[in-house]
């Protein structure tokens, strides 16, 4: 049962062939068998999940389900605030922190009937590409525990891949949903900026952060997306218009669609097998009638630099509130300033500290124009460039990540190498546009390869239409060995 899709489980629940409690027990069993190897969860809320599943069963019995997710066991990344359920963001500074409120996305999942199983592991404050920056230990890749699951939402990706939940949510600031989805062989989607409320998502870089789902299929990703998307008066950057209606065109195929291959997202630094799988998929799309052409976005070459000025700058302010005064860790000091300094020095890990320092520097008087100011200008340029390219192409495609899952520890001593892992995903965050990663196969080492589809802002319809076609053409049905039911 832990290997069901949300679609299949939902249908079985509705027909009474399966109870929410049984389904929950099944995924909890899967988690208990795999967590020792994976560590995809920071918190499993057995009690809360069981109560929710019991409630779901009652409503299902009465024929009054709350929504399409009634009884579906899900998880959210540990940077989503969950009322009275520990929320650490993978950081010592928030160890033991119990938020007094649910993030809007969490509240909407509960309203749709979802059973929240727990909180997934992540890089500290979502800063990283391997989940090795979690203060509570790394998550491992279900396809090979010697490898990383990607990050920062590595816990969500691994939990979905192995069947400890049927779906999960993460946050994507520079690729933190799509890259781990690619490395774990699941679907990961980052919507247009503003389509899912950020209220209650602990901010990393506010202008880039976006919540999105992980699922085993494109259709399931749509179901999860629809449950949480839409205007939220608590988020001033939330989109007030209608959420694109993507479901009706999911099966329409790619015939006649203009597919652009991004020249800048390939070549040196890309695994040969990743490149080969990507171009094989492009060929299949062409065979299906897509009009494939190569496009060029020169500003993609500097997107990584732009990102590593803007994201740290915003994070330096967003993380200033963790000072030991009101919540979380407090390391005593002789003065308030000393208490704050000690708390932050002990509470934050090295990568978070590095980014706060980078950002503080980039915003400093005398450096602002050269760094942050210039980065904002190039960001505008990139947005304009993408808008132009999207006049020639309906969607853009590329590998999701230049490589498949790398070994634990391989890049932890080399931040720049780690940062390069997000080179394909960052542009969509800078532009606020939607992008999705769909698994298209395994490399010779048995590690998943992800294929990225990008679309213009609010272009979710054509993006999902393409993603569904990619999914069908890839016919990827491999499962990690540890997901096979005992």
């Amino acid at each position: 049962m832990a290997d069901l899709t949300i679609e299949a489980a939902g249908s079985a629940l509705a027909k009474g062939e399966l109870s929410a409690t049984e389904l929950l027990e099944s995924v909890l069993t899967r988690a208990s068998l795999t967590e020792a190897d994976l560590h995809s969860f920071l918190t499993i809320d057995h009690e809360g999940a069981m109560a929710a599943a019991t409630g779901s069963d009652e409503r299902l019995r009465r024929g009054e389900p709350r929504g399409l997710l009634e009884g579906i066991p899900l998880a959210v990344k540990d940077n989503f605030c969950t009322r009275h359920l520990e929320t650490t963001c993978g950081s010592q500074i928030l160890a033991g922190y119990l938020p007094p409120y649910d993030a809007t996305a969490v509240a909407r999942l509960r309203d749709a009937g979802a059973v929240l199983v727990g909180k997934t592991n992540c890089d500290e404050f979502a800063m990283g590409s391997s989940t090795e920056n979690s203060a509570f230990g790394p998550t491992r890749n279900p396809w090979n525990p010697e490898r990383v699951p990607g990050g920062s939402s590595g816990g969500s990706a691994a939990a979905v891949a192995v069947g400890s939940v049927l779906g999960a949510f993460g946050s994507d600031t520079g690729g933190s949903i799509r890259q781990p989805a690619a490395l774990c062989g699941v679907v990961g989607f980052k919507p247009t900026y503003g389509l899912i409320s950020r209220y209650g998502l602990v901010a990393f870089a506010s202008s880039l952060d976006q919540i999105g789902p992980f699922a085993r299929t494109v259709a399931d990703a749509v179901t999860l997306f629809e449950a949480v998307a839409g205007y939220d008066p608590l988020d001033a950057t939330s989109y007030q218009g209608l959420v694109p209606n993507v479901r009706p065109t999911l099966g329409e195929g790619v015939s006649g669609l203009r597919v652009g291959i991004v020249r800048e997202l390939g070549g040196e630094g890309y695994d040969a097998e990743v490149a080969a799988a990507t171009s094989a998929m492009v060929d299949k799309l062409a065979d299906e009638g897509a009009k494939v052409s190569e496009v060029s976005l020169p500003s993609f070459e500097v997107a990584l630099s732009v990102y590593y000025l803007i994201a740290p700058a915003e994070c330096s302010a967003n993380l200033a509130r963790f000072d030991g005064v009101r919540y979380g860790l407090r390391v005593p000091g002789e003065t308030v300033e000393e208490m704050m300094a000690r708390t932050r020095a002990e509470g934050f890990g090295p990568e978070v500290t590095r980014r706060i320092l980078l950002g503080t520097y980039a915003l400093s008087a005398g450096y602002y124009d050269a760094f942050y100011g210039k980065a904002q200008k190039v960001r505008s340029l990139l947005i304009a460039e993408m808008a132009t390219v999207f006049e020639q192409a309906d969607v853009l495609v590329s590998p999701t990540s230049p490589t498949t899952a790398f070994e634990l520890g391989a890049k932890t001593q080399d931040p720049l190498a780690m940062y390069l892992s997000d080179v394909c995903t960052i542009p969509a965050n800078l532009a606020g546009t939607p992008a999705i990663s769909v698994p298209i196969g395994l490399d010779s080492g048995g590690l998943p390869i992800g294929f990225q589809v990008m679309a213009p802002a609010l272009g979710e319809k054509v993006m999902f239409q393409t993603a569904a076609a990619v999914e069908a053409l890839a016919d990827f049905d491999a499962r990690p060995a540890m997901a096979v039911s005992p």
Partner: protein, 480 residues
């Protein structure tokens, strides 16, 4: 030759808006109340909470800006001002930087007979901080044993109004502060109570030799809790700087704290040693857009402002000095004036009464008692038709405020109504003249001062209630 020094003063004002809810969340705006009861994830800076701008506050800052003759920016932006402080929950304040809502305005300020136009550089929107309550050793941060934090004030909408360094004396600075306070109170956007901290003034003071252009080193003064202390603090700071410079020393750029008890400023450490606030555009909020028609609608909704009122009053024949006082008087006083004039009271007389005796009497009584326009109109009527002398009328007014009774009733009770019935006075005059033949003789022989003596006798015989003007007139007729 000794140098004559010219003070150069700018004032920064923080006005707490009295909107129902806070700037970026739905929490109630209240003054006082049990600590940390008007708080939510947003104004406590909890992880994940986001701000949403209060649209009423945005309208109100535009009202303030328009009343100060500012340009309202079509597009303005919130910025984050980064500094660490325990009562600043996010360790950044959402404020504005290079794109404030309002720019380039002015306020005319009059001291004595001189009116000067004081420039307003900007008015911008921001959020207030929480309050630190330092425990032990006099409530000062450096000697406190512990500090309690109250976040009820955190996130209250705050408008910062920055003047240009156009003020030239402590007195002028005080007049500017008072006029600005009254203006804000009149707009109905703030309690504007200095003692409650809902309007707070900081001053930037420097001095330079008269006739020179370059600005001296400026010192910021804080902790001025009344208009009087603002004037004293600035005067004291000017003296301190002049003394330093004349002694061959330099003025250090710093923030100084006004000590009311000591009557002097003393140096205080700034919030952060360096003042690099690392401003950047607040990504959680969209830019603010004010369309021209929206601004015009807000302009149309402005009440009559003191400057306009003053010229209207002068147009009604009110003396300039009185018009100025009345234009800035408390709203209750002005209402009394307008009502009395509407009933037919001569504007000049009504203005004199309101700006003079009524203002003085209400202050003396220290009660919120007020005379309404109809009552004032009747009082004025009684003085105009001679039934009350001007001194008696003042007495009547005070008693009206105390008792709440009408002028007629009070005057009768106090037995102050003048006899202005000519026939009654004629009789009294005849009686006096008949008994004072010698005096009459002396007057007729040219001894003019005897007239006063005779008037006195008539007044005495009528128990002081005769209208002295009328008595005078009748006597002259009879003796002439």
């Amino acid at each position: 030759m000794t140098t004559v020094w010219e003070p150069v003063i700018g004032i920064e004002v923080h006005v707490e808006l009295s909107t129902q809810s806070k700037m970026f969340c739905g929490c109630e705006v209240t003054f006082g109340g049990e600590a940390n009861t008007k708080v939510c994830p947003t104004c406590l800076g909890l992880p994940g909470a986001l701000p949403v701008a209060n649209s009423v506050a945005m309208d109100w800052i535009v009202r303030i800006g328009l009343a100060l003759q500012c340009q309202v920016s079509e597009r303005s932006v919130f910025h984050r001002k980064n500094y660490f402080y325990a009562d600043l929950p996010k360790n950044y304040q959402v404020s504005q930087f290079d794109l404030p809502v309002c720019r380039n305005g002015w306020l005319d300020v009059t001291v004595g007979d001189e009116t000067r136009r004081i420039g307003i550089e900007r008015a911008h929107m921001e959020e207030d901080t929480g309050k630190s309550l330092h425990q032990g050793n006099g409530g000062r941060i450096h000697t406190a044993t512990s500090t309690l934090l109250d976040f009820n004030r955190s996130g209250v909408p705050l408008v910062e109004i920055v003047s240009r360094p156009d003020l030239r004396s402590a007195t002028e600075a005080r007049a500017y502060a008072q006029d600005l306070r009254n203006l804000v109170a009149e707009l109905g956007v703030s309690d504007a109570r200095m003692e409650a901290g809902s309007i707070r003034f900081d001053a930037n003071v420097s001095v330079r030799p008269v006739g020179t252009e370059a600005l001296g080193t400026k010192v910021e003064i804080k902790n001025m809790n009344s208009f009087r202390s603002l004037e004293r603090a600035i005067a004291s700071e000017i003296d301190r700087q002049v003394a330093l410079l004349e002694g061959g020393q330099k003025v250090r750029q710093e923030t100084r704290h006004w000590d009311e008890g000591a009557g002097a400023t003393h140096s205080m450490r700034s919030k952060e040693e360096s003042s690099d606030y690392r401003y950047f555009a607040e990504p959680d909020l969209l830019p603010l857009v004010f369309a021209a028609d929206q601004v015009e609608a807000l302009r149309a909704g402005l009440p009559e402002l003191p400057a306009e009122r003053r010229s209207r009053l002068e147009g009604l024949g009110v003396a300039p000095h009185t018009a100025r006082a009345l234009a800035q008087a408390e709203p209750e006083l002005r209402r009394t004036f307008e009502e009395a004039v509407a009933l037919g009271a001569p504007p000049a007389a009504a203005a004199n009464w309101v700006a003079g005796e009524l203002t003085a009497a209400t202050r003396r009584l220290e009660t919120p008692a007020m005379v309404d326009g109809r009552s004032l109109f009747r009082l004025i009527e009684m003085t105009e038709d001679g039934r009350l002398s001007s001194s008696a009328a003042k007495e009547v007014l005070v008693e009206m405020l105390r008792s709440g009774d009408e002028a007629e009733a009070v005057a009768t009770r106090l037995d102050l109504i003048q006899i202005s019935d000519t026939s009654a006075l004629e009789a009294a005059v005849s009686e006096v003249l008949d008994s004072q033949l010698e005096a009459v003789e002396r007057y007729r022989s040219g001894e003019q001062k005897v007239l006063g003596f005779l008037v006195g006798l008539v007044m005495k015989s009528t128990g002081g209630k005769a209208d002295p003007k009328l008595v005078n007139q009748i006597l002259r007729q009879r003796l002439g």
